[in-house]
């Protein structure tokens, strides 16, 4: 049987067993859960019957003998009934009763004057009666005949493991690395009271994910103690994140979705952590330190909290498992480089960062319904880019501090650039091609990398960073002046080239006296020379080869990076292109070096 099919069959059998056992566990927990019982109706507060009993036969006999007023009032009630007492007499006998009961308690050395019987008795039952005694479990503590949840699941886990042992014979050997890894995983759950916490099926679901992972990647995680600890920590972190996300009022299906999401995050953490361990062995699996658990918990919490709703409980549906693992890896990397992001109980900054990014991406795409961009493709990569690049320059990119992840500059810049890329071409645009997802992500990647290297790109305006403004200008210029046959990949390369040039040459960002940016004007000149009405047919013909346009833009902006731009040089650029481009196009060999030298010579 092919490995894929075998795995699928194993997983389905495991799932069926999990579902059966989870149902039994659910029924057990409901049957044994405490219910609050209503008390029958009765007069709880002390009344004249209480008073008479106290004085005649209870602790107040001595007062009955010694106090004529007590005897008179109690006798009146006995002979003529409670209604025979006037309101004043009723109040008086109750006051005497309170006083005498307190006196007796004081004599007996009991506490008087706190929230004890003297105040509670006036109103009825104590809190102890109302809260504790009426909340009744099915069985006395420790006498529940049903198996514990972990024990109930044990059979399921064994069966699942037996299935997997066919393809992993070492699993049957208790001293094998694989068996040890599975044991470390289960240790995490041995003391958990599942009735009070997360759905029980999470344990076998995660066990299946772990076995699945081990069967496909026997070389990862099982090699040494550090891998076992990582699995244990990841399981604990995911379980903790799931519990934290299960607030009251969720329906069963919402709980199921969260549970599935948690398992998806566990798989993503396993894959992400394993990959990160290979890529950055110094950063990950350093030690079985408490910090590692905080790190994993922060990442799990961030993904759980931020993506619970976006992913509708199924991370694979939102991201695809591979993309989800990449996000997890990026988050691990970000926290690994900035341990301060990992705090006990999860990181609000990391959570906020992921949530803000997810919300922004979703909002931009919702604003552009005609865009071919899909959130499930765009979001994980945008998240990865933000998280990875955050790791490089946290202080500069989060000027508002760790309390304000939504003001993280990369998040803001990403949102604005994505908005520009996703926008439909304006009416009358010459170039109307839409960007594919890969192309949009490439532009965002350049923007994020540039901004991470030089936070000046985004530091000026929290609402609309400079880099986003420039991307909009460049795209508008290409929409206006580009040929209908300019392909989108070339357009992306042009944006990349111009942005990188602007990053290196400050004057390209400056504006002319007329308020136009030099960098944008330079692109205008190049595009006009290539596709404008004045361009020769020979030049336009050659320029329709995307690589040629890209080489020309690279050459022109390469020169502009070397020489600061000004009005005179811009004017000279127009003139030299009018001569150099026909010359370039006239030679089939396309001498780009000669072209570049010619442009450089003209821009003295």
């Amino acid at each position: 049987m092919p490995v894929d099919v075998q795995l699928i069959m194993l997983a389905i059998r495991a799932a069926i067993r999990i579902a059966e056992q989870a149902r039994h566990a659910f029924a057990d927990s409901l049957r044994s859960a405490a219910i609050t019982l209503p008390l029958p109706n009765f007069p709880a507060a002390p009344d004249l019957s209480s008073i008479e009993n106290f004085y005649r036969d209870g602790d107040g006999k001595e007062f009955f003998a010694a106090n004529l007023r007590v005897r008179t009032l109690v006798g009146k009630v006995a002979a003529q009934g409670p209604r025979s007492l006037s309101a004043e007499e009723d109040k008086e006998i109750h006051a005497l009763f309170d006083e005498h009961t307190l006196l007796i308690r004081a004599r007996n050395g009991q506490v008087v004057g706190t929230a004890g019987a003297e105040s509670l008795a006036a109103t009825g039952l104590t809190d102890e009666d109302l809260v504790v005694l009426v909340s009744v479990r099915q069985w006395r503590k420790g006498h529940d005949p049903n198996p514990t949840v972990l024990r109930r699941l044990a059979g399921t886990l064994v069966n699942i493991a037996v299935d997997y042992a066919v393809s992993m014979p070492d699993l049957a050997n208790s001293s094998s690395a694989q068996a040890r890894l599975l044991r470390e995983f289960l240790v995490q759950f041995q003391d958990v009271d599942f009735v009070e916490t997360a759905p029980t099926e999470i344990v076998p679901m995660m066990a299946t994910s772990l076995l699945d992972f081990m069967s496909v990647h026997p070389e990862l995680l099982v090699k040494d103690r550090r891998g076992q600890v990582l699995v244990q920590h990841a399981a604990g972190a995911v379980y903790g994140a799931l519990n934290a996300s299960l607030q009251a009022g969720l329906t069963l299906s919402e709980k199921d979705q969260r549970t599935e999401l948690a398992n998806g995050i566990f798989r993503a953490l396993l894959r992400g952590a394993a990959s990160a361990a290979v890529d950055n062995p110094d950063l990950f699996l350093r030690a079985s330190s408490p910090e590692e658990q905080d790190l994993l918990r922060s990442v799990a919490g961030a993904l759980m909290d931020s993506l619970g709703e976006a992913a509708a409980g199924d991370p694979d549906r939102a991201f695809g498992s591979e993309a989800f693992a990449r996000v997890a890896q990026a988050a691990l990397l970000a926290v690994g480089r900035h341990p301060e992001l990992a705090v006990k109980g999860g990181s609000p900054f990391l959570t906020g960062l992921v949530r803000a990014t997810a919300v922004d991406v979703a909002a931009v795409l919702a604003d552009n319904p005609g865009s071919p961009l899909d959130a499930s493709t765009i979001l994980p990569e945008v998240l990865r880019l933000v998280l990875v690049n955050t790791a490089g320059n946290l202080d500069a990119l989060a000027p508002a501090g760790l309390d304000h992840p939504e003001k993280q500059l990369l998040v803001v810049a990403t949102k604005e650039v994505l908005r520009a890329v996703a926008a439909a071409p304006p009416a009358g645009a010459a170039w109307r091609t839409a960007f594919s997802e890969d192309e949009a992500l490439r532009i965002i990647g350049v923007v994020v990398q540039e901004a991470a290297q030089n936070p000046g790109w985004v530091a000026g305006s929290i609402k609309d960073p400079l880099i986003a403004e420039i991307v909009r200008e460049l795209l508008a210029t290409m929409r206006r002046l580009g040929s209908t046959r300019l392909d989108s990949a070339t357009a992306v390369a042009i944006v990349e080239s111009v942005l990188r040039a602007m990053g290196r040459q400050y004057t390209l960002q400056l504006k002319t006296a007329a308020g136009k940016r030099y960098g944008t004007l330079a692109l205008e000149i190049v595009l006009t020379a290539l596709f404008g009405p004045g361009a020769s047919a020979q030049v336009t013909w050659v320029a329709l080869r995307g690589q040629v346009v890209q080489d020309i833009v690279d050459a022109v902006f390469g020169v502009l990076v070397e020489k600061a731009v000004n009005d005179a040089r811009l004017q000279a650029l127009g003139a030299v292109l009018g001569e150099a481009l026909p010359l370039l196009a006239s030679h089939g060999a396309l001498d780009m070096i000669g072209f570049r030298n010619g442009v450089a010579g003209a821009l003295k």
Partner: protein, 293 residues
Amino acid sequence: MSASTRVDRRGGRAVRLALLAVALLASGCVSHIETLRQAEQGFSRAAEMENRERYGDARSAGAVESYTSAYRISAKSLEKLIAENSKELAADNLLCTAYTLHALALWRLADREAAIRQSKAALAGACAAPGAADQRAETPRDHALLVALPGLARIDEANELLAKSPGTAPAEERIKTYRRIKADVTEAIQFLDNAERELPPGHPLRGYFALSRMGAVRVWESAVTNLLFGTDLRDAERKAALQAAGAAWGQYRQFVQCREPGADDPAKVDAGLQAWSKALGVSAAEVPAARCE
């Protein structure tokens, strides 16, 4: 190729399919359990609200309507659940719990006849006594509650009768009413005692029964004061009620002082004992000390 790319997709696909299977199976198989859970939670919330309203130290506007409505919703939902899913509930050993909650909800909605009918039906079937289907071991709390339920209803009836009786009626009429109240209370205590005998030692339901028993005696004591004044019966009846109060208080003390060690703050336990001693007029010195085994 990066390491993350090397980590291929095969495992993920298998687990995805498995998760789908779990979701399909789980959603189809547990809906009756989930409905019961919701009804149970609704019932508990209503009970908590009612207990606070009747016996707590603060009243809130609209509380009576709120808990009555919550009981009604719970009762309707349980009635439908039992009618449509009794097989599934029985397969999961939850039918007795559903019957019990339904009977309790009917009781609190003052439909006492239906509540008792339901409890009898349950005890004859899903919650049968040992020797029949031997279901008792499965749900001791539910079984004992069903046995006690007619007694709980009697306490309400007695209290209602007391509240309606005018203290101005002729002595013969008052004595007649008193006898009915006493009969109800005596019978209620009998039911509670029988139900408690069904429970294993130390079961938490014993605490609830102790409270209910003391509540029943409070009705009796009040009835003596309010109805027997100026009659020859009064003194003997007051002493009989007080004796029953001492016994009920002793059972309460036995329970709260002999629970598992560390279960409660001793000061809170003491406050409860004092409050009840004061309400019942019982002297702690007259009641034999608790003997914890």
